[in-house]
């Protein structure tokens, strides 16, 4: 039986089917969850796509291994996956700091202060600036902001992912947004914002 990546079968149900040997369930889960974890890890790791792919693959491997013991309804599959990915990213960040390495910064040099004439180009530059600003945030603020405003998790879900209380999530998210706004304010003109 084929399951669509965006179909009606829940992640929980797919994982149970996977544990029973359903190959199509494996395909559906791969298509549903891998992109989300990849996007999240890419932003946490400062745009390092290769590292983010390793994290995504490792997270999914752990999901396959835990499948036989999965208890439906206890927690969402995606919440579990975000939590694993967060811890894997934290490990990599610590390892890099110990080695004195820095993350790749994909933000373009905004040497040209003239506003982009092409709307799509302007959109790309704004998104790149956002990614660069996210990379400049403290780790915990970045995690909270990305999970809340880009990945779309609720505060209680973020609390489970980050293993903190809901109030702490709200505080981190608010501080993270203020820091983002401050970082991007210096580039408003270059990014074509008026006023």
């Amino acid at each position: 039986m084929a399951y669509d990546a965006d179909g009606d079968t829940s992640d929980d149900a797919l994982l149970v089917l996977y544990a029973r040997g359903d190959r199509q369930a494996a395909l559906a889960l791969t298509r549903r969850i891998t992109p989300r974890i990849l996007g999240y890890a890419t932003r946490l790791l400062g745009g390092d796509r290769a590292e983010a792919e390793d994290v995504a693959q490792d997270t999914m491997l752990r999901l396959w291994r835990i499948a036989p013991d999965w208890r439906p309804g206890e927690t969402k599959v995606t919440t579990w996956a975000y939590r694993v990915a967060t811890n894997l990213c934290i490990d990599r960040q610590r390892s890099r700091r110990r080695k004195g390495q820095i993350w790749l910064d994909d933000a373009p040099d905004i040497a040209d202060a003239a506003p982009a004439a092409d709307a799509r180009l302007q959109d790309d530059r704004r998104l790149s600036a956002l990614e660069a600003a996210l990379a400049d945030l403290p780790d915990r603020q970045r995690q909270a902001v990305v999970l809340r405003h880009i990945e779309g998790l609720s505060n209680p879900e973020i609390a489970v992912v980050m293993e903190i209380g809901v109030e702490a999530v709200e505080s981190l998210t608010a501080r993270g947004k203020r820091a983002l706004a401050a970082l991007l304010s210096g580039r408003r003109d270059a990014l074509g914002y008026e006023g």
Binding site: Y18, A19, G21, R23, A26, L27, L29, T30, R31, T34, P35, R36, L38, G39, T42, R49, E53, A56, Q57, M60, L61, W64, R65, A67, P68, D123, R126, L127, L130, E131, V145, H149, I150, E151, G152, K177, L180, A181, L184, S185, R188, Y193, G195
Partner: protein, 119 residues
Amino acid sequence: MQDEELDRLLARAAASPPTPAPALLERVLANAWAEQDRLRSVDRPTDRSATRRQTGRVPVLDWLAGAFGGPPMLAGVFSAAFAGAAIGYLEPGMLDMLTGGDAELVDLFPEVDFLTTEG
């Protein structure tokens, strides 16, 4: 930057997730299927539990073990039963050899005749 501008930018980022490379999806799926194959080989029926799965019938020993609280308990009951039977049927001298001790025959009812005498 205004709050509304930042919110629109974050929403734009949410709507533009990075697309996984096909090679990554292939690796993830290959791991998934390999893990399923591994689980299937571990779960392959080779023991009495397979009988239960395949026929619905519970083997006698499994039923007894369940009744006594598990295989270790059942083994203990069998051992105790064997020891009791051995003590009951063996001569004291043989019991000495088995236990390494001194077994004495004690007549608890020296005048047991009164129980067996008729009339």
